[in-house]
């Protein structure tokens, strides 16, 4: 639909504008300074603070709020008349009367829009007879302090919580002077702690306890980087003072996250200062790990590598997909050129098999075909395998925003939930691991309607292989009713442009590669109508793939180790003993290695079994580049220095290379080398097959996949995240708890696969009935013990203890 252009007059000047467009945006695009307190570009217009008033001079005179006025033909607008300025001054005065003025000691002083505007406009001399309404600070919630005496009731926090976060934990209650922002029954906040409300507050009414610093805003240094918790890649705005992070937020104009963060990206950074962090290399002497100097550690590692090379027992390296592109390339050079070995691989991180074995064979390259930002504008999105609120929070916010603000629907097919299901149209609560069957059925239905590209290579045999997946059989195998399937199909048929998203992460049930292949096949057959997005578990999976770190699969490396073919094993951020599925045999294989080097920030279980442990910089302590799932370049900027004596992966690799007399190029030259992923050919369909999964049996489905507050391994080292969700809690649906006679806080024994865990019950409306959410890893151990194979569906029993 093309908007009509009209002419309006602004401050006496003729201006072309879009009929019905937002007047405030138009005025700001003309470089006119229009103040606002309640307006947020990300939200629907509100018109609460009345600071954006402008004067209309074309007959229908008067003061109008620019933020909520559509542009109309023939408008004449004045933005700086005396009446306008006076009106803003009066409004500011009224806001100020009921705002506790303590600017000199306020945490937001110097970073407060209200303060700025009062400086700019001043307030009228005469005092109005009004006394501040006293209200106590609410300090009952974790981390967030709410100070109603400073609140100016702009409602931005309430609207963000609802329109973007989709939570609606806070609301504006009562009326007139009694109006206040609070939770239902003034309970403590029980929300996602995303920080959207705090970061958007124009005043100091919302304060974050861990970020109370007393350091004035104007002497803090702002640095931007990319959040490295998951693969979404949100932009961070960190405020630094004295080499330490004093506050983290995000700029509303940032891409792709538009100023939004999740709890990990907002608060999780205290793990950098965790007392559990390794700060010095360790070396095994007389059977025990002891602290040593860097030179001693590096010499020992280099000697072991050379010894292996001379004995024709090659070194092997297994890296985590958190490595930067540069570090990944350096590692590749070290292993292939320095040691003449091709035993190089990534750990079994979520997304690796999806891209390598699911996407690449079908689409020709191991890469998504649509970006997170592009998903905003497709007509319909189908999300598979998980609730993105738990695995990839940015995607969740995008979906909520589409749905709430533009009525663009999305479907979610997942066995386990986290709250997003309430917004999905439809939500398909499928039996664990049956997403591939759902996709096969969808493909069959669309093929029967002649909507797919029949000219694709392998099309015939692919369609033949789908024939068995009738609606009836699909309903039986996925546990989704035929009506729900039909609803999904109708949405798909209506959409002109589709997005299909496959989420990955540890302990998600089902075949990651098979599901992704089914999704890629459908996307390929739909042609330009559809895009595929595969979101990996860790930040730089795409970059590590593109850097060629996938010569060997992790299973292959462990097998070679177990067969004593490997000399020195070099683990970078991977923990085969502690975090790989037990069936892979990580701990047995490690015992067979001649020499094990672990490069990690924490003493993992593999590190405990290592010969040398090298402490390393993590997450936002690193410089370098990464690649987003769609292939765009990301720049990780070092926000804070790592602890003294701790190096970045690349620095350690370079030092090792020196010992091996290997010359490595500079980072800048490496950057040139990054050629990106190779296109391996045209789309090519393969017959669909699914592995039979036993979802029979009794008991609750065990859900050990990422939780909102805990993504898996690393997060357990953040005391703040642990405080929000102690790792001693099993979350369950209230109806399940009632049926089992459990209340909040009861001690529960979880039993399954001959193992058990003792946890405290927490009733949570977001949990799907019939499943139990158990932390994957705690500092002691965790639900990982129940799961032996990747993608396995596990059932457990629950008893009151």
């Amino acid at each position: 639909m093309k908007e009509q252009m009209v002419t309006i007059t602004v401050n006496g000047r003729q201006v072309e504008a879009e009929q019905g467009g937002n007047l405030l945006n138009l005025l700001r695009s003309l470089d006119l300074d229009i103040p606002t307190l309640c307006h947020d570009d990300r939200l629907t217009p509100y018109g609460g603070c009345r600071l954006c008033v402008v004067e209309r001079k074309d007959g229908r005179g008067g003061m109008i709020p620019a933020c909520s006025t559509p542009v109309q033909r023939g408008m004449a607008i004045e933005t700086q008349t005396e009446a306008v300025i006076e009106s803003r001054r009066r409004n500011l005065q009224m806001l100020m009367l009921n705002h506790r003025m303590e600017c000199p000691v306020c945490e937001r002083s110097g970073d407060c829009r209200f303060q700025e505007l009062i400086y700019l406009y001043g307030t009228p001399e005469e005092q109005l007879p009004f006394e501040l309404i006293r209200r106590p600070i609410d300090d009952s919630s974790p981390f967030i302090l709410r100070d109603p005496e400073k609140c100016i009731l702009c409602g931005t926090c309430v609207r963000l919580c609802d329109e973007i976060q989709g939570v609606g934990e806070i609301g504006m209650v009562h009326r007139g002077l009694e109006a206040t922002v609070t939770t239902l029954l003034e309970r403590p906040l029980d929300c996602e702690f995303c920080g959207q409300c705090v970061n958007a507050c124009p005043v100091g009414a919302l304060i974050v306890r861990p970020y109370i610093s007393g350091i004035p805003a104007w002497i803090r240094e702002h640095r931007k980087s990319i959040c490295s918790w998951c693969s979404c890649g949100c932009e961070l705005d960190a405020e630094i003072y004295g080499g330490k992070i004093v506050r983290v937020s995000s700029d509303p104009t940032s891409e792709p996250n538009a100023g939004t963060l999740c709890v990990k990206g907002w608060l999780g950074w205290d793990l950098l200062e965790s007392p559990e962090r390794l700060r010095q290399p360790l070396i095994r002497k007389e059977g025990r790990l002891r602290e040593c100097s860097w030179s001693e550690a590096i010499e020992a590692v280099a000697a072991a590598m050379i010894r292996g090379r001379d004995q024709a027992k090659p070194a092997a390296a297994v890296a985590s997909s958190r490595l930067t592109n540069e570090d990944a390339l350096l590692l590749g050079r070290l292993i292939t050129e320095g040691l003449g070995s091709d035993w190089l691989g990534l750990g079994p991180d979520g997304g690796l098999r999806a891209l390598k074995e699911g996407v690449a064979p079908v689409l020709g390259s191991a890469r998504s075909t649509i970006t997170l930002s592009e998903l905003r504008d497709v007509d319909y999105v189908l999300v598979l395998r998980a609730d993105p609120g738990r695995t990839h929070p940015l995607l969740k916010r995008e979906l909520i925003r589409r749905h709430r603000q533009r009525k663009l629907p999305f479907a979610m097919a997942a066995a386990f939930t986290g709250g997003l299901e309430r917004h999905a149209r439809p939500f398909l609560g499928i039996l664990p691991g049956s997403e591939d069957i759902l996709l096969a059925w969808l493909s069959r239905e669309l093929a029967e309607r002649g909507l797919l590209d029949e000219g694709l290579e392998g099309y015939r045999s692919w369609v033949d292989s789908l024939k068995v997946w009738t609606t009836e059989k699909t309903a039986e195998r996925t546990g989704v009713t035929a009506e729900r399937l039909e609803e999904l199909l109708q949405h798909m048929l209506k959409a002109e442009k589709l997005g299909i998203v496959v989420l990955t992460g540890h302990a998600l049930p089902g075949d990651e590669a098979g599901t992704t292949e089914a999704a890629a096949s459908l996307v390929a057959a739909l042609g330009r109508k559809a895009g595929l997005l595969v979101l990996g578990e860790k930040t730089n999976l795409q970059g590590c793939l593109d850097s060629g770190l996938t010569a060997r699969a992790p299973e292959e490396i462990l097998e070679a180790l177990a067969a004593s073919k490997i000399g020195c094993l070099y683990l970078l951020g991977e923990d085969p003993v502690g975090s790989w599925p037990r069936s892979m045999g990580g701990s047995e294989a490690l015992e067979k290695a001649d020499f094990v080097v672990v490069q990690d920030a924490f003493l993992t279980q593999s590190a405990r079994a290592a010969d040398v442990v090298l402490p390393v910089a993590i997450l936002i302590e690193r410089n370098g580049t990464g690649t987003s799932p769609d292939g765009a370049l990301r720049r990780y900027q070092r926000l804070v220095d790592p602890p003294a004596g701790v190096l970045q992966d690349g620095e350690i690799i370079r030092t090792l290379a020196q010992c091996l007399d290997l010359k490595l190029p500079d980072d800048d030259d490496l950057f040139e080398e990054m050629g990106g992923v190779k296109d391996e050919g045209l789309p090519h369909l393969r017959p669909f097959s699914t592995k039979p999964r036993s979802s029979g049996g009794e008991g609750y489905f065990l859900d050990a996949s990422p939780q909102l507050f805990h993504s898996g391994g690393t997060t357990v080292h953040s005391a703040r995240l642990r405080e929000l969700s102690p790792d001693i809690v099993v979350r369950m649906a209230p109806e399940d708890a009632r049926a089992a006679g459990l209340e909040n806080g009861d001690t529960v024994r979880i039993v399954g696969e001959g193992r058990e865990m003792l946890l405290r019950a927490r009733l949570d409306r977001c949990v799907k009935p019939g499943s139990l959410v158990v932390p994957w890893r705690t500092r002691e151990n965790g639900a990982s013990r129940f799961i032996t194979r990747e993608g396995e569906v596990v059932r457990v029993r629950m008893r009151r203890s």
């Binding site: 609606g168 939770t183 405080e723 946890l759």
Partner: protein, 191 residues
């Protein structure tokens, strides 16, 4: 087995406080049914909020919080959003009202005809401040804006019934009648 129960105990209290007590059972079972019925008959989600709240309050006299949460769930809203609407409108109340809701009109015509005195007398008769409910939940007293019976000023409503041209004597008679009516009903079994 990790932790041990004492550690579990201690941590849990720190993180989640004392156990939340369920208040669902105190709500009139009729209320849940009204919500279910209404939502089934009136599709449209959020737009149905205010008529639905009217219906519930009309039947059980107030809007308990568990019902507000249930309404929110049924209409796809967040509970606090429902509460913000409930708290905005003077008409809605979250505390139980009496069986006889005494609503004294404070509109202009009644006001100049001594509505305040009428209200004070009424308060003395039933022993209530404005906004209160008697312990036996027989009476509740509130002031309302114009009820559209200006010709009968000073006027009041007892539930849906208008009483006009009020005098202190008539008020005493009315209250006596209501009390004895209630007593008769109690003696003669359920209404």
């Amino acid at each position: 087995m990790e932790g041990g129960e004492s550690m579990l105990e201690e941590n849990y209290e720190i993180f989640y406080g004392a156990q939340e007590k369920s208040t669902r059972d105190e709500v009139d079972p009729e209320a849940w049914r009204i919500v279910d019925e209404y939502v089934a008959e009136h599709p449209g989600g959020q737009e149905q909020l205010i008529p639905l709240l009217h219906r519930v309050q009309g039947k059980i006299g107030y809007l308990p919080f568990p019902i507000q949460e249930y309404v929110a769930e049924k209409l796809g809203m967040s509970p606090v959003e429902v509460y913000s609407v409930v708290s905005f409108y003077h008409f809605f109340t979250t505390t139980p009202r009496g069986r006889y809701q005494l609503k004294v009109c404070m509109g202009t015509a009644c006001f100049v005809n001594n509505a305040q005195t009428i209200c004070d007398i009424l308060g003395d008769l039933v022993g209530l401040e404005v906004g209160g409910v008697t312990d036996d939940r027989l009476f509740s007293l509130e002031q309302v804006r114009c009820i559209g019976a200006c010709g009968l000023a000073p006027a009041m409503m007892v539930n849906d019934e208008v009483h006009g041209h009020l005098t202190p004597k008539e008020l005493r008679k009315l209250i006596r009648k209501l009390k004895s009516g209630a007593r008769r009903q109690e003696e003669g079994g359920p209404e």
